[in-house]
C-alpha cells in the first residue's frame, strides 16, 4: 500500500515536471507565430460577448431560465470559457492534431517513448493562445457574477475549483472515448466537431433537461454537468446529491476513457513511410 502510494506520487511528480518542460517547448514554438495570439484572443472575446448579449436579450423577457438568474447564467458562461482554456492548457489541441499524426504515421513517436501516449500527445501540443481570450473574459464574467450574488461564501471558491477540475476530467474522458474511434476510421475532423458541440451545448444550464433527457445528458453525454455543476457550486444552487453524481460521472468518464483509449491504440496501424 505504502509502495503503491509512493509510486503514484513519483508518477505525478514526473508528469508535473514533464508538463513544465513541454510547456516551455510549446511556448518557444508559439513565439514563432506570435501574431496568431492576438487574432485568436480578439475572436474569443467577440464570441463570448455574443453569448452574453444573447442571454441579456432573453433575460429582458424572463427573470430566470430553469431557475437560473441572469447573474448566475453569466457565471455559467464564464465557467465554460475557463474550462475550455484549462483543456487547451492540457489535452485539447493534442486531439485536434491526432488525425494528422495518424494519417502521416507520426503517431509512431508517441508509441515508443517512455511516456503514456495520451499524455505525450497532450503535452506535445499545449496551447495557451487558443482559448486565452475566452478564459480572460470567463474570469471577468465569473467575478462580475459573484459580485452580484447575495448568498455567496468564501468556501465556495475552493469547491468551485475542485468541480472545475472534475469537469475537466469529464471533458477529457469524453474526448478520449470519441477520439479512440480514430484508430478505426482514420478521419477525425468530424469527431472533434462532436466534441466542439459537446462544449458549446454545455453553456445551457443542466436543469433545462427533464426525465430521460436529464439521464442522458448527465450520464451518457454529460453536457448537463460540465459547466452547470461548478457554476451551481459557486452560486450555492447545488445539492449534495447532484455534486456526488457529478464526481461519480467525472471519475467514471476518466477511467473508461483511459481504458477504451488503451485498448484502441492496439488497433493503430501505422502509415508506412
Amino acid at each position: 500500500m505504502k509502495q503503491l502510494a509512493y509510486n503514484i506520487f513519483r508518477k505525478i511528480k514526473r508528469y508535473l515536471h514533464l508538463y513544465r518542460v513541454f510547456l516551455s517547448q510549446n511556448l518557444k514554438e508559439d513565439m514563432i507565430y506570435r501574431s496568431n495570439f492576438i487574432t485568436l484572443a480578439v475572436m474569443d472575446i467577440g464570441f463570448v460577448s455574443v453569448s452574453v448579449i444573447l442571454f441579456k436579450i432573453i433575460f429582458t423577457h424572463v427573470t430566470s431560465i430553469a431557475g437560473w438568474t441572469f447573474h448566475q447564467s453569466i457565471i455559467l458562461i464564464g465557467s465554460v470559457g475557463i474550462i475550455r482554456e484549462m483543456a487547451y492548457l492540457t489535452f485539447r489541441r493534442g486531439f485536434l492534431e491526432l488525425g494528422n499524426h495518424i494519417r502521416k504515421g507520426t503517431f509512431d513517436t508517441f508509441m515508443v517513448r517512455p511516456i503514456a501516449p495520451n499524455i505525450h500527445l497532450a503535452f506535445r501540443h499545449i496551447s495557451i493562445s487558443e482559448s486565452f481570450g475566452e478564459a480572460i473574459t470567463g474570469v471577468v464574467l465569473v467575478i462580475y457574477g459573484i459580485l452580484h450574488l447575495n448568498n455567496w461564501t468564501w468556501v465556495s471558491i475552493p469547491l468551485y475549483i475542485i468541480f472545475l477540475l472534475n469537469s475537466l476530467f469529464v471533458y477529457y474522458g469524453f474526448s478520449l472515448l470519441i477520439n479512440s474511434i480514430v484508430f478505426w476510421v482514420i478521419k477525425t475532423q468530424e469527431l472533434n466537431t462532436i466534441v466542439y458541440f459537446f462544449m458549446e451545448t454545455s453553456r445551457y444550464p443542466g436543469d433545462i433537461y427533464r426525465g430521460v433527457g436529464k439521464f442522458i445528458f448527465t450520464f451518457i453525454i454529460p453536457i448537463g454537468i460540465i459547466a452547470t455543476v461548478p457554476a451551481s457550486v459557486l452560486t450555492g444552487r447545488t445539492s449534495w446529491s447532484s455534486a456526488l453524481i457529478a464526481l461519480f460521472v467525472g471519475i467514471s468518464f476518466l477511467t473508461t476513457g483511459i481504458l477504451v483509449w488503451r485498448k484502441s491504440i492496439e488497433h493503430y496501424s501505422s502509415a508506412s513511410g
Binding site: 514533464l18 517547448q25 507520426t106 509512431d108 508509441m111 515508443v112 517512455p114 493503430y268 501505422s270
Partner: protein
C-alpha cells in the same frame, strides 16, 4: 554472446476496406464495404545477438518496416512471438522503451520549428538521463556526427543529411542497447549516404549497440553489415553473411547505354549479357571486376550518347535467390 532479439513465427495481417473510385463509390462504402486482407508478414523467425549490426534487405512492401514496427511496439502482431532484451515489445513497458530507439528515414521526430538542441533537451527529460551522462553522451555524439555548428538552427532549415544526423543523435542520447533504423539513407545524396553509413558503423563498433537496419539499397548493407536477412513478400528468403550473398548474387553490375545509331545484337553481346534492348537503349550486365575495362571498351568502340553504371537492384537479387 547473449541474444538480443528473438523472433518466432511472427505474422502480421493488415485489414483494410476496398474503396471504389468516385463519389458513388464513396457513398456505397458508407453502407457496404468489402474487407480486404494484406499479409505483410507470414511467420518469420530469426535471432540476433547483442552487438550485431544486421541488415534487413528487401524491396518496398516486403515487410521490413512492419517487422521493425512490431519490434518497437508500434504495431501488434497478428500472431507469433518476439522478445527483445527480455521484453515483449508490444507490451510497451517503459523499462523496455528506455533501452531502445527507432529512427525512420521518412519520419521526423524532432521539433520542426525549433533547433535540434531543444529536442535533445526534451529527450533528456523524457528518458530521465542524469545531467552528467547527458553532457558526456551529447559531447560524444556532437563529435562523432560533426553537428556542432547546426545545433542552434531550426530543424526545418536543415538539409536532409544534417537532419538525419540530428535524428540519430537524438535517438542515441539515452545510450539505447538496441537501435532500429528504417531506411536511414533514403533520399540522401551519395556523400551524405556514405557519411551516415560511416557514423552507424563507428557507433556500433564503439558502443556495441545491437543495430537492425532496413534498406532497399544493396550498398547500405554491403558496406555496413556482416550478416543480412533478405525478406520478400513477408517471407525470409536469405539469412546469412553479406559476403556470401555478394559472392553469389552481387558480382555483377548493370551498364545502361544510349547509342546514336542501331547496333547489331551480336556486336553488343561481346560487352556483356544483354538484359534489355529497345531500339537505341540497351541494358547490359557485366562482371564487377572487369567493369572498368568493359566501360572503356564500350566508350571506345560503340557510338555511345549516354552511359551509366548501376548496382544490380535488390529485386533482381531476390529473383535470383528464387530461381537459383
Amino acid at each position: 554472446m547473449s541474444t538480443s532479439i528473438q523472433v518466432k513465427n511472427l505474422s502480421k495481417t493488415y485489414e483494410y476496406f476496398k474503396k471504389e473510385a468516385g463519389l458513388t463509390g464513396s457513398l456505397k462504402s458508407l453502407f457496404w464495404r468489402e474487407k480486404l486482407y494484406n499479409e505483410a508478414l507470414k511467420g518469420i523467425s530469426f535471432k540476433i545477438d547483442e552487438g550485431e549490426l544486421i541488415g534487413f534487405l528487401g524491396p518496398n512492401g516486403a515487410g521490413k518496416t512492419t517487422t521493425l514496427k512490431i519490434l518497437s511496439g508500434i504495431l501488434y502482431p497478428t500472431s507469433g512471438e518476439a522478445v527483445v532484451l527480455g521484453y515483449v515489445p508490444w507490451k510497451r513497458s517503459p523499462e523496455y522503451q528506455r533501452q531502445f530507439s527507432i529512427v525512420m528515414g521518412q519520419k521526423n521526430q524532432l521539433w520542426w520549428d525549433l533547433p535540434a538542441q531543444e529536442s535533445f533537451q526534451l529527450n533528456k527529460e523524457i528518458y530521465e538521463i542524469d545531467t552528467k551522462t547527458y553532457r558526456n553522451n551529447l559531447d560524444e555524439l556532437i563529435e562523432l556526427f560533426e553537428i556542432k555548428d547546426i545545433l542552434d538552427i531550426p530543424v526545418r532549415k536543415l538539409s536532409m543529411g544534417q537532419r538525419m544526423k540530428c535524428e540519430l543523435s537524438a535517438a542515441l542520447l539515452h545510450s539505447p542497447r538496441v537501435l532500429f533504423l528504417d531506411e536511414p539513407t533514403i533520399g540522401l545524396d551519395i556523400i551524405s549516404q556514405e557519411k551516415i553509413r560511416h557514423y552507424i558503423s563507428e557507433y556500433n563498433k564503439i558502443k556495441k549497440t545491437t543495430v537492425l537496419l532496413t534498406s532497399h539499397y544493396m550498398r547500405d548493407v554491403e558496406r555496413l553489415c556482416g550478416r543480412v536477412i533478405v525478406i520478400n513478400n513477408g517471407i525470409i528468403v536469405y539469412d546469412g553473411s553479406v559476403q556470401d550473398l555478394m559472392n553469389t548474387y552481387g558480382k555483377h553490375k548493370i551498364i545502361r547505354l544510349r547509342l546514336s545509331k542501331e547496333y547489331t545484337e551480336n556486336g553488343l553481346a561481346k560487352y556483356g549479357e544483354i538484359l534489355e534492348r529497345d531500339g537505341l537503349c540497351v541494358v547490359l550486365k557485366t562482371g564487377k571486376e572487369d567493369i572498368a575495362a568493359s566501360t572503356a571498351r564500350i566508350l571506345n568502340e560503340l557510338p555511345v550518347e549516354d552511359l551509366s553504371v548501376e548496382e544490380i537492384e535488390i529485386e533482381e537479387v531476390i529473383k535470383k535467390i528464387f530461381t537459383g
